[in-house]
């Protein structure tokens, strides 16, 4: 599993459309920001608690030093785009990236077995402060799904540190 001090994996994710590839390491190059992952777009915990927290705290997080905030999930780019629009995340400026094939989840060692409920393996809920493509801090929910250590309020102090 990735840990504090690990480099950010050099994976390509999709944004807005399935053929629009973006490199995570291009986004965080020379920048300080937050990367957080969710088990599934439109699912309860992700939609009611996790993502809204980052949407509501966007200004505070920016003031605390986050130059970019990225949300990832193992969903396709169309679904991520729709979710970003529906939740107001896109309007706020949160980048909604699709880990369509689960490559980032695998590279970080954060795969979550949700095949029975959702049809394919997903990503454990987590949040991380990334600084110039290095994982500065990493908060992974113990069961992969809960909404505790990975929430926006918890990461505030890690940004300032």
């Amino acid at each position: 599993m990735a840990k504090e001090g690990s480099p950010l994996p050099q994976v390509e994710l999709q944004e807005g459309a399935p053929d629009n590839n973006v490199k995570l390491t291009d986004i965080f190059k020379g920048k300080k920001g937050i990367l957080f992952g969710v088990p599934g777009a439109f699912t309860p915990g992700c939609s009611k608690t996790h993502l809204p927290g980052y949407v509501n705290d966007y200004a505070k997080l920016s003031e605390a030093g986050a130059q970019v905030i990225v949300c990832v999930s193992v969903n396709d780019a169309f679904v991520m785009e729709a979710w970003g629009k529906q939740t107001g995340a896109e309007a706020k400026g949160i980048r909604m990236l699709a880990d369509t094939h689960g490559e980032l989840a695998k590279a970080l060692g954060l795969e979550l077995d949700m095949a029975k409920a959702l049809g394919m393996n997903r990503m454990k809920r987590f949040s991380a402060v990334i600084e110039d493509n290095k994982i500065k801090s990493l908060n992974v929910e113990p069961d992969g799904k809960g909404t505790t250590c990975s929430l926006s309020n918890a990461i505030m102090s890690q940004l300032k540190a």
């Binding site: 053929d19 309860p44 729709a82 049809g119």
Partner: protein
């Protein structure tokens, strides 16, 4: 003389050239890696598909779909319970929130839902290889109300069982369903309008209406 036929799922079958041609005629197609100069000239590069379900076949009754009911609770329904003794229109789409599905295909059926029901259709349902949460959110976004049941074939079990899977991995979507509109009577296929991939030509609501 043989050719190597690679199907979209990655399996390779070595088939006699004549069989390749026969397979092509019957609606299969294969990506041929030319095994030698004497391999059939007629070999065209197309994506391979397994035999899709056809008119007269019964849909696999024990496969289950997840969906969200009107009260917002996740339910599971077996194909049997959905189709037994009923007239059902089943719409297959490559993906929730994708352009053609969202702008043309599903809205077309929504528009004709009342007309379909007046012609004896008991249930209109839409199937995609997406999870139930995504299907539910999509249905709210398109505004299907309770006119169309939105069924999640999350692991593509049903889609694969009826042979209509579509490999959109290159397009960043993974294994999905081909676009189709199907009329079922007591679980048997009465009419099947199946697109090659995600095209939108024969699978509209109007086509199904004319079959009723």
């Amino acid at each position: 003389m043989t050719a190597f036929a690679r199907c979209t799922a990655g399996a390779i079958a070595i088939v006699p050239t004549r069989r390749c041609a026969a397979l092509s005629r019957r609606g299969h197609s294969a990506k041929f890696a030319l095994a030698g100069p004497r391999v059939a000239r007629s070999a065209q590069l197309r994506t391979c598909s397994v035999t899709a379900i056809s008119v007269g076949d019964k849909v696999p009754g024990d496969i289950k779909f997840n969906y969200f009911d009107a009260e917002g609770n996740m339910q599971a329904v077996a194909v049997d319970d959905l189709t037994k003794g009923k007239k059902v229109v089943l719409i297959g789409v490559p993906g929730a929130f994708t352009p053609t599905c969202s702008l043309k295909h599903l809205p077309g059926f929504l528009e004709k839902a009342d007309e379909l029901k007046s012609k004896g259709v008991d249930t209109i349902a839409c199937v995609a290889v997406n999870d139930a949460f995504v299907m539910d959110a999509w249905s709210k976004s398109v505004g299907t109300d309770d006119k169309i049941m939105m069924l999640a074939d999350g692991s593509a079990d049903f889609t694969k069982a009826i042979g209509v899977e579509l490999d959109l991995s290159d397009k960043g979507l993974g294994i999905r369903s081909r676009r189709y509109a199907m009329l079922l009577e007591d679980g048997a296929v009465k009419e099947l309008n199946l697109e090659e991939g995600g095209a939108f030509t024969v699978s509209s609501a109007d086509e199904i209406l004319s079959a009723l």
